[in-house]
Structures are given as C-alpha cells and as structure tokens.
C-alpha cells in the first residue's frame, strides 16, 4: 500500500520536474517545422542544425562572452572577499561581529527593485561626475553581482572554516607565518571544497540574474539571461534554436551544482537547520 503510494507520488513528482528538461532536450534536435506545428513528443528527424544556427539568429556569442566575463569576474571577487570576511568571522571574536553577520544576511530579503532604482541613479551620477561608465558596462554589472552572492558566501565560508581545525593555523603561526600567510598556506588548501562551492554559487547567481541586467546593460553588454529572454518573448520564435541555446547555457551550471551539491546544501541549509 505505502510502496504503491510512494511509487505513484515519486513518479508524479519526477514527471513534473522532468517535463521542461525533456522538452528542452527534445526540441533542441528538432527541425524548425516540428516546433512550428502542434507539439510532438519525438522529432520527425534528429538534426543538430539548431546548435549551429542559434549563433546566427541571435548574437549569442556576444551574450555568452558578456555573461562569462561578468560571471567569472563576480565569482572571483566575491569568493576572495568572502574568504577574507569568513576567515575574520570564523577565527576572531571582535566588536561588531554579530552586527556584521546580521546586516549581511538581512540584505538578502529586501526587494531587488528597491536597490535597483537608486543604484541606477547613483551609477548615472557617478558617470556624470567622474566619467566612470557603470551603466551599460560590464564593470557596473560585475560590482553589483558580486555583492548579491556575498552574503551567502560569507555565511557559508565562515561555517566551513569553523570546521577546519584551528590547530592548523596556530601551528603555521608558531612556524613563523603571519595570519594571512597561515590563511593562504594552510587554511585555504584545507577548505578547498567549501571555497569551490561558494565560487559555483557566485557564478550561478551572476549567470542567471535578469532584473539588474535588464536595466544596467545595452546592446553591446547584454547578458545571456536578458538576451535570450528578449528573443523568446518575440512574436516569431525559432523555438528549436532557443531550446538548444538554453541547453548549452544550462549544462555547465547544472553539472557544477550537482557535483558540488553536498557542500552547497550544507551551506544553504546551515542557517535554517541551526536556528
């Protein structure tokens, strides 16, 4: 009885979860006529043309490059900054420690739209006063994205560094290393899985963001998320190519996530489970 229910319920959940994945994969190898008529479960013939043509239909390569540059820069900066902050929070007891953690976490829940309007104005005025172009530039987007992933990154790394034995850095300091030397030579190698998990998270955050990218980019700096979205909501869409592009864009992220899910899950849920 229970086994039958379990099988049925899990099958239903799996179908619901899998449906878009199936549609994405199948449609990406369909010829155009298949996606312009009523939906079919199988391609009338399997073709990889969409994977070739998609680069010409939309400036996908440019979007790809923009997203990659922004996401990689945001990832690197966010991980480095979070590593320093996480190390401070994990290894030192100082005035303002709790306030810092609470502030950082509470920024997570505020509506993005609340930051967007003033940030847009601030960027516009920085541009006017100093000539430093932040709107429609990859730099402005990078700075924005790195702070989006920062709160969770700090939180996760602080927790992860707590699990790295303190004796390690003490031993290194006895051997004459400075605290920073100990961090890089002893703590970082021991905390590598946590650091990689944070990096993947920061990359995912930047890779999929739409709200700020839709306002802070123009034709030349458009990211994948906004570019594909804009194309997919047009009237006449080559859906097989859109699906092929979506698949190409998703695969690295999903594989990275699944490979590191153990560490990410530990961090994502640490706050919820502990409190």
């Amino acid at each position: 009885m229970y086994r039958a229910f379990r099988a049925l319920a899990l099958a239903a959940l799996a179908l619901f979860t899998l449906a878009p994945v199936y549609v994405m994969a199948m449609s990406s190898v369909k010829p155009l006529r298949d996606v312009q008529g009523p939906f079919t479960w199988w391609p009338s013939e399997i073709t990889f043309a969409p994977y070739v043509e998609m680069w010409r239909t939309v400036p996908l390569a440019a979007y790809f490059a923009n997203s990659a540059v922004v996401a990689l820069c945001a990832m690197t900066c966010s991980t480095a900054i979070a590593l320093f902050a996480g190390y401070a929070v994990s290894r030192y007891r100082f005035r303002g420690r709790r306030a810092f953690l609470a502030t950082v976490l509470s920024t997570q829940m505020f509506p993005g739209i609340l930051f967007l309007l003033p940030l847009f104005l601030i960027f516009a005025n920085v541009d006017r006063l100093t000539g430093l172009e932040l709107i429609n530039s990859r730099a402005g987007l990078t700075v924005t994205y790195l702070t989006f992933s920062l709160p969770f990154a700090v939180w996760l790394l602080a927790g992860y560094l707590d699990s790295v034995p303190r004796e390690l850095d003490e031993a290194a300091e006895v051997d004459g290393a400075t605290p920073l030397g100990a961090l890089f030579r002893v703590v970082v190698p021991a905390a590598r899985p946590g650091i990689v998990a944070v990096a993947v998270y920061a990359f995912m955050t930047a890779w999929g963001e739409v709200l700020f990218a839709s306002v802070l980019t123009d034709q030349d700096t458009r990211t994948l998320a906004v570019g594909l979205q804009a194309y997919a909501t047009q009237a006449n869409v080559y859906w097989n190519q859109v699906m092929a592009a979506s698949l190409v864009v998703s695969v690295p992220v999903v594989l990275g996530f699944l490979a590191l899910q153990r560490y990410l899950v530990a961090g994502l849920t640490a706050g919820a489970v502990k409190s």
Binding site: F94, M109, F110, I113, P118, L121, V249, T269, A272, V273
Partner: protein, 295 residues
C-alpha cells in the same frame, strides 16, 4: 606589522565596502528618493528634484485614483501568488523529502533529479516553460487536448503559479531533506515500538522535529516569492497580463515606463515596510509557539 586587533576589521573591509556601495547606500538613497518629485526631467541631476514630502506615498495609497487602485490590485495578486506558491512548494518539497528518507534503489538518481529545477539558471527553465505554454505549439495544450491561451488572460496567473512552484519546490525539497537527515533515527524507532502508524509518526515526530527548519523555510520562500521578478518577467516579457502583474513587475513598469523614479521608490519602500512587518510578526508569532519538546 598589522596588530591582532585591527586584522579582523581589515579582513572585513572589502566585504563591508561592497555591501555599503550596493546595498546600504542605495537603500538609504531609495528612502530619500521616495520623498522627491523625481521625474524624468531630473534624472541627470537628481539633487535638483523638488522635495515632495509624502506626496509620492499619498499617490501610491490613494486607491480611488488609478495609480493607487492598480497598486492595490497588484498587491492582492502578489499576496495570493505568494501564498499559493509557498503552500505548493512546501507541500511538494515535504512529500519528496519524506518519501526519499529511507534508502531504496534509485533514490540517489531521484534526489539529483529533484534538484535540477533549482540548479538550472532560472531564465532557461522559465523560457522552456513559456514554450510549453504556447497556444499552438506547446506541450501543455497537447497534453490537455485544449487550445487555451496560457500566457495572456485569466490563465496567466495559474501558469505563473505553476512555473514558480516548479522551481521553488526544489529548494524546499533540498532544505527539508537536510532537515530530515538531522532528525535522530531513535525517535522514529521509538514511535515504531509504540505502534504508531506512518501518518501518526509524521505528525508526532517528523513535523515537530522539523519545526525550526519549517519556520525559516516558509519565511524565506514567502520573501523570495513576494519579490520574484525573474519568473514573471521571463514568462511574459515587458508587459505582464493584468491578472499576473505581480508587484516587482508592476513597480518596475511604473518606474521605467514613465521614468517617475520618485513614485517607484515610494512603492518599493511600501513593499519593504510590508515585508518587514510580516517578517517580524511571523517571527514573533512562531517563537511563542515554539515550546515543542526536544526542539
């Protein structure tokens, strides 16, 4: 040589600077902007915009005028949307997590599969859904043998709810799975010895043990859904149908179609105030009820 006392602050400095520049300062600026008559004429030099006092707020909450009435409608849509998505995501996540608690062949594969919606970049998942929901070429009409419009009109709200649940139940599943793993197995064994059935065990052991996890999970899901922008924007494009015009989309359009950033800021401040009140009230209520043995 850096002193031991100053080192932690130096280590924190970059994080604090980034938070200040992107979060704290814009938030304060947003508060200030909501008090200004900040229309397109003052965009380049917003310090010259005239002070409007609470004028923007008065316009936003005046439900007898079109602007206020639209905002109120959008607020109601958003509230219903958030409640439905939180309930649905939590229920599905709980179901999945409980059913996958004990090992059986295929459990690992299912667990990985259930994480895919959360791992996929939001826009690719939602773009695929928008293809599935197309009237003439989509999977949904093919399965239902219908020719309904799913992305405009009354159905668009249902579409938005289902698509959002598709993504966020995966996060609920992830959190609850981790929460369940932390429940000591002895509790279930003791309930077994007492002859408790599955439903009874779920109510008397699992639910109380998960109470702290649920407390945070429900709040986080609610806040995320209430602020959700990517899903409706990707699903509907710039102009969401009236029935599915949630607040983030509404404020976005109100701000960037007319460039009245003062009014837009006032609306976001109201949104923030509402969320703060709900969060504080929720945390206060749930902390009073939290006297469960063993928690």
């Amino acid at each position: 040589m850096i002193s031991k006392k100053r080192l932690p602050y130096l280590l924190l400095a970059p994080a604090v600077a980034a938070e200040l520049v992107i979060h704290v300062v814009p938030m304060l600026a947003g508060l200030g902007m909501s008090l200004l008559k900040l229309t397109q004429f003052f965009l380049r030099d917003w310090t010259r915009a005239p002070f409007a006092g609470l004028g923007n707020f008065a316009v936003a909450v005046d439900v007898s005028a079109p602007v206020g009435a639209d905002l109120l409608r959008s607020f109601c849509v958003t509230l219903l949307y958030a409640v439905l998505v939180v309930t649905g995501s939590w229920a599905l996540g709980m179901l999945g997590a409980v059913l996958l608690r004990r090992p059986f062949p295929g459990r690992g594969a299912l667990r990985a599969l259930f994480l895919v919606p959360f791992a996929l970049p939001v826009f690719t998942g939602v773009i695929t859904w928008s293809f599935m929901l197309q009237r003439d070429t989509g999977l949904v009409n093919a399965v239902l043998d219908a020719d309904a419009f799913w992305l405009i009109g009354g159905n668009s709200f249902a579409s938005l709810v289902v698509v959002t649940i598709w993504r966020s139940w995966s996060f609920a599943f992830l959190t609850l799975t981790a929460g369940l793993a932390a429940v000591p197995p002895e509790l279930h064994e003791a309930a077994d010895v007492d002859g408790a059935g599955r439903w009874r065990r779920f109510r008397s052991v699992t639910l109380p043990q998960l109470a702290p996890v649920n407390r945070v999970l429900v709040l986080v899901l609610f806040l995320w859904t209430f602020n959700e922008f990517t899903t409706p924007y990707t699903l509907f494009g710039k102009v969401a149908p009236e029935e599915a015009s949630v607040l983030s989309i509404h404020v976005y359009n109100a701000s960037f179609s007319t460039w009245n950033l003062g009014l837009g800021s006032a609306m976001s401040v109201l949104l923030l105030l509402f969320l703060l009140l709900v969060s504080l009230g929720y945390l206060w209520l749930t902390s009073r009820r939290r006297r469960v043995p063993g928690v």
